[in-house]
């Protein structure tokens, strides 16, 4: 897991831009506080990115943005979330295994934030596939 930036002093990790704020807290006396701040800021960062993406999509296609969702949209979203949950769970369990094998807590934090990002990417990717190629029950 070296690619996840195992050096706590480095600000150039894979998710460095999301983690800038909690990095300033790395000297906090409570490691748990630092870890929680890391995950919270990561989640907020992803949420902000999603809101920005929705705004851009709405501007690009205003008619589609105004269309209310129907049963097919709900079905596609549910199936895509199922895939995303599998990926998220897999990364979390791999991280737990990594911790048991000596992975640093810093790398574990990076891996967990990365899990959220990858999970969301899988969700959007699955939605595209289902919309493009169909989603038979």
């Amino acid at each position: 897991m070296d690619f996840l930036c195992s050096d706590p002093d480095s600000r150039t990790g894979v998710l460095g831009s999301v983690l800038q704020i909690p990095l300033s807290l790395r000297n906090a006396p409570l490691g748990l506080f630092f870890t929680a701040a890391l995950l919270i800021v990561g989640a907020i960062g992803i949420t902000v990115l999603e809101i920005a993406a929705h705004i851009i999509a709405a501007i690009a296609a205003p008619a589609d943005a105004m269309t209310p969702i129907d049963e097919r949209d709900r079905y596609v979203a549910a199936k895509a979330k199922g895939f995303a949950f599998l990926v998220l769970s897999a990364v979390v369990f791999i991280t737990i295994a990594g911790l048991l094998q000596g992975m640093t807590s810093w790398s574990a934090c990076q891996a967990l934030v990365l899990a959220f990002v990858v999970g969301e990417l899988v969700r959007y990717g699955a939605e595209i596939v289902y919309y493009r190629y169909g989603c038979l029950k």
């Binding site: 269309t67 049963e71 097919r72 079905y75 190629y133 169909g134 038979l136």
Partner: protein, 72 residues
Amino acid sequence: MTRPVANQIRRFRFERDEMTQQELADRIGVTRQTVNAIELGKYSPSLEVAFRIALVFGVPLEEVFEYTGERP
């Protein structure tokens, strides 16, 4: 991906003065994209939507949809 349910929506729309997908979608309460997906066999609608489609065309459900999969 198998498509166990065939449908005659395109034909019924044609016979109803070329009813557009948007018109049908508005009457059954789904999006035009969903009507298109149903027509192309990319999505199997719920029973409720299937009945609404049959009601719009004024025909029994089995005239619009046909099960072509394996017999249970």
